[in-house]
Amino acid sequence: MKTKYVLTTGLVLVLGVATEAQVLNRLKQRVENKAEQKAGEEIDKLFSGKNKNQSGQSGQGTNGPGGSNSGGNNPSNKGGGLISTPPDVNQNLIDAQAAYTKNSYGEARYAVQQAMLGVELEIGNKVLKSLPETVAGLNKEAKADQVTSTGWGWAGLMIKREYSTKDKEFRVIIANNSVWMAAVNTYLASGGYAQQTNGEQNWKQTKLKGYRAIIEYNERSGYKLSVPLGQSSLIVFEGVSFASETDMMKAAEVFNLDGIKKELGEQ
């Protein structure tokens, strides 16, 4: 047992030193990179006749601009990122059937998962389209719209939308079809949160358009209203700099919960 503690402490120390060293190295590289990048580009031009950054390689890079590079004259990446076309559902279904007929079950499963991913992304986009353009005088942040799906597994489908001005923000997060959601919903819907009478009350049970919900308040992050929808969906509204609970509830009431629920296939 003693040895374990000694080992753990040793490990923490070693990792700590290692991390510090890494950070220093990275800083050093950044500085060197900037200086060498210019020279590197000139050399690239000399040998290939064109700038490496503009060589038409698109759609594969994952590093954002300014991402760290470890090489001496590697220019920082300015790629266009991954192509975000969702998987072709029909094609994947064709592939799944072909693989299944050939008893190639692993391939069949992969194709079905891809098809499911495609369908989930479409569901997510449809839900996003159905959400209001403005909430409590805040316009939507089109760039922040997000649909995430794993096609299967724990995470399920996640839909995000933000509305904001400089000092006020309203966020909507919709989670659907994830494994843990069922458990969360049972807990919330059963009134599992115990209400206390003494001390500070930072959350309470409430109702939003007839749906049972939990509203929480935090000095730093503001209001958070969680509404379970059906068997496996949850919609969370977060409001920053909303003057009162009433304001927050009014903002959330703009949303068509029945419509979202229907879009998600919940009963």
Partner: protein, 182 residues
Amino acid sequence: MAQEFDKNISAARTSYASGNLQDARFAMEQMLRDIDIQIGKEVLKLLPAKVGALAMNEKEDNVTGTGGYVGLYVSRHYGTDAKRASIEIINNSPLITSLNAILSMPVIGGMMRDENQKIIRVQGYKSILNKNVNTETGKTNYELQIPMNNTLLTLKMDDTTEGEITTAANSIPLAKIVQLAQ
């Protein structure tokens, strides 16, 4: 089973074509379940009829497909009450990723190591061997966990030795199982 799959795939197609995305997704979940069960049946065919001297109990063979969440579960049992063994396979489950992560971190693997646990290689796969001495019977039981990509195979044997369980593990065609299940 193939009929079920065909039925579900045509349901998925029709629903998708008519814009009924929820029903399409549901049909696909069913398809994943069908495929998992089919994979499970194929995996069972690859498992040995005997583990050491213990014969399999075919009636206890089990395949469960959950269509993604827990993934595929296959089990086969061997022997009688006097001495039992079992092979369990979990495939396509998000849980396996975390196990793989633990195994691939030598430091943590090393810290976890105690006298009843060690990491060995079976057919090239890093595996965790657990020893468990039953204080009532005085018998030594072993459990060997072999994570392979998205598949976890667990071999359990009662009243055995490290040599016997390793030999038994080597009689399982791991590479073929992985190929089938991935």
